[in-house]
């Protein structure tokens, strides 16, 4: 959780002036450019869930996917390099923040399209079963995604085929700049999953131990062949939709209330009660910030991709015929 928080804070700092949005013009100096969707305040969900996943397990993620990627075991440094657009990033600078992936640890990709990763995870789960691999698939998506068709289609599909798939809805209450409740009927992701006969649980998504406990049960059940499950993790999007969005459209009291339930603070409080000192806890945060600072420095120094890379890894058939 500390590493995710430190990563998001550093990425945010490096993105200032990096995108023309919300009435701002893009400057030339920002190292992290374009839309940057921060998961600050949502660290407990990927941490609690991914603790139960192995490298062989497949994961699909969202546009707000840095936390998922780190929690799945990907290199923090290579992810920072990708945000900086460098050749040494996970995607050689082709993807950026919205298209982070580390296939070597089963992280099959963030996605710039809401809900698109869900169906891909369905296919991965079916593939796992067909090839009799000892693995499961998991997919993170937001509460906004439950209003897209692929969510409904995928619930039905996963239930029909009894696939080894964990659906994780990170319910941060916001669909971009619109409150999800204002545009959503019914009781949310878990209720919709139950309508398809999928066992679904809701959890305090800012309580990493609670997430860890419920996710552990669900993952174990899925591994035992019990079919798909859904976890609705209630959290809150502390930042705007993208890093330059001041979220002026929301009631400041809502944010204040959410900050009182900061997942890192909740965990720190528990650790204090269990006998750790403030120093012990601060040491985790300090180590994370140091690791991130090193990643930023190495990203800053890393080489840009060659222009020729724009023409590589597109397709084999017809490669070279670009006009």
């Amino acid at each position: 959780m500390c590493r995710i928080r430190a990563f998001e804070d550093a990425a945010e700092a490096a993105s200032r002036g990096g995108v023309a949005a919300f009435g701002q013009l893009a400057g030339g100096d920002a190292m992290v450019r374009g839309p940057l969707h921060l998961s600050t305040g949502q660290e407990a969900t990927p941490t609690g869930v991914c603790a139960h996943l192995h490298p062989a397990d497949c994961l699909t993620s969202t546009h707000r996917g840095h936390g998922h990627t780190l929690a799945k075991g990907a290199s923090l440094e290579r992810m920072m390099h990708e945000l900086f657009g460098r050749a040494s990033g996970f995607c050689g600078g082709r993807g950026g923040s919205m298209h982070i992936a580390d296939f070597s640890v089963g992280m099959l990709g963030a996605n710039g399209v809401v809900a698109a990763g869900i169906a891909i995870a369905v296919g991965a789960a079916q593939s796992i079963r067909l090839q009799r691999k000892d693995a499961i698939a998991a997919t993170f998506f937001g509460d906004g995604a439950i209003n897209r068709g692929p969510f409904a289609e995928s619930l039905n599909w996963a239930a029909t085929f009894g696939l080894p798939l964990l659906f994780v809805c990170e319910d941060n209450h916001w669909s971009a700049t619109t409150p999800t409740a204002a545009v959503s009927a019914g009781e949310g992701a878990a209720a919709r999953a139950r309508a398809y006969g999928i066992e679904a649980f809701e959890v305090d998504g800012n309580d990493v131990e609670a997430v860890h406990e419920v996710a552990g049960r669900l993952v174990a059940a899925i591994r035992s062949g019990d079919g798909p499950k859904l976890l609705q993790s209630r959290t809150y999007r502390v930042k705007g939709h993208v890093s330059v969005d001041p979220a002026a459209y929301r009631d400041p009291a809502e944010l204040d209330a959410a900050l009182l339930r900061d997942p890192l603070a909740i965990t720190a409080g528990r650790l204090l009660l269990r006998g750790l000192s403030t120093d012990d806890i601060e040491r985790f945060a300090r180590a994370a910030r140091a690791e991130v600072a090193e990643a930023v420095e190495s990203a800053r120094a890393a080489a840009w991709p060659e222009a020729s890379a724009a023409f590589e890894s597109i397709q084999d058939t017809g490669a070279g015929q670009w006009h």
Binding site: C58, G92, R94, A101, F103, V113, I120, G123, I128, S313
Partner: protein
């Protein structure tokens, strides 16, 4: 060598591919009963429901799941029933399947064949009759194939399954019953055109069912003393420029004929390329920019045929005579 329909040739080729490679699976609606055009006949019985997968009517997830399968070691053949329904899966085709490899820096590959039966299907009206291949030719990452014969449907389907790239594969809705001699082991390389008829006076470049009309048009043109060469492009991306340029250098005139709407059709791309790189006179013919109507007289207005192609060819040849 055996006489087979275009549908049976595809089923036989897919069967061979599935037999040869356990990674090949097929998924889509109604496949268990052989597919609505019979192009999967016998495969469920042969390979079982895990590899010939009956899906819900969920085009977006059919295609999205295929991407997930391809990324994790399978080679899915995706049935989207008709091109018109593939529009429900455009994000999955264009944003996910086509771009995955590039976007993630080459970490993953999405080898899959996306079958989208295309063209006018008589009396099926506007939402079952489209030819949208030019849209897909504009998407980097995709290979675009449109076979016109039973042999090519066998050979090109096999090549598409084996090629490792996502392939937009357009069979024609009115060719399923077309018979032809098929040699299942005959291989065809993607990106290679086939000359259906040689000629001296002009080249007609076409594909899919329009290639057959072009051949008929060439027969009509002999009555005018015009000797037309007919090239079936077979693969639209990458298209066989060498074959077309070579033919153009001999005939000096090229007509591109396709069933799709002429405006912004792939014929425009070929004609413009020829204009830039050769001395050939170029023309193109396609459907008017109207939806396909139901009543025969309405449908007919959207149809290209041999007469219209021949007429256009005459004017191209006559224009400079």
């Amino acid at each position: 060598m055996a006489l087979m329909s275009y549908a049976a040739a595809a089923a036989a080729a897919l069967g061979e591919a599935m037999q040869a490679d356990p990674r090949v699976v097929a998924l889509g609606e109604d496949l268990g009963r052989g597919g609505i055009f019979g192009q999967y006949c016998g495969l469920r019985e042969r390979f079982g429901p895990d590899r010939v997968i009956d899906t819900p009517i969920s085009e977006a997830t059919i295609m999205g799941a295929a991407v997930g399968m391809a990324l994790t070691g399978l080679r899915p053949v995706v049935e989207l029933r008709v091109i018109d329904f593939a529009l429900c899966a455009m994000d999955e085709i264009v944003n996910q399947a086509a771009k995955n490899r590039y976007m993630f820096g080459g970490q993953g590959r999405v080898p899959c064949v996306i079958r989208m039966p295309s063209g006018i299907w008589s009396a099926s009206a506007a939402q079952h009759s489209q030819s949208l291949e030019a849209w897909f030719a504009a998407v980097p990452g995709l290979v675009v194939v449109a076979p016109s014969s039973a042999q090519d449907n066998a050979s090109l389907l096999r090549a598409a399954i084996e090629c490792g790239d996502p392939v937009a594969y357009f069979e024609h809705k009115e060719l399923w019953a077309a018979q032809g001699e098929v040699e299942l082991d005959a291989r065809v390389e993607l990106g290679r055109a086939r000359t259906l008829r040689t000629g001296r006076d002009l080249t007609i470049v076409s594909w899919s069912k329009a290639a057959l009309w072009s051949l008929e048009a060439a027969a009509l043109l002999t009555g005018d003393g015009i000797d037309a060469e007919v090239i079936d492009l077979r693969t639209l991306w990458p298209w066989d420029r060498a074959a077309v340029f070579e033919s153009a250098s001999r005939t000096g005139r090229v007509l591109v004929a396709h069933e799709a709407i002429q405006v912004a059709g792939f014929g425009a791309e070929i004609a413009a390329t020829l204009a830039e790189h050769t001395r050939a006179r170029v023309a193109r013919i396609g459907a008017p920019r109207i939806p396909v109507g139901y009543a025969p007289v309405l449908e007919q207005q959207a149809r290209l045929d041999a007469l219209r192609i021949a007429q256009k060819a005459r004017s191209l040849v006559g224009a400079e005579a």
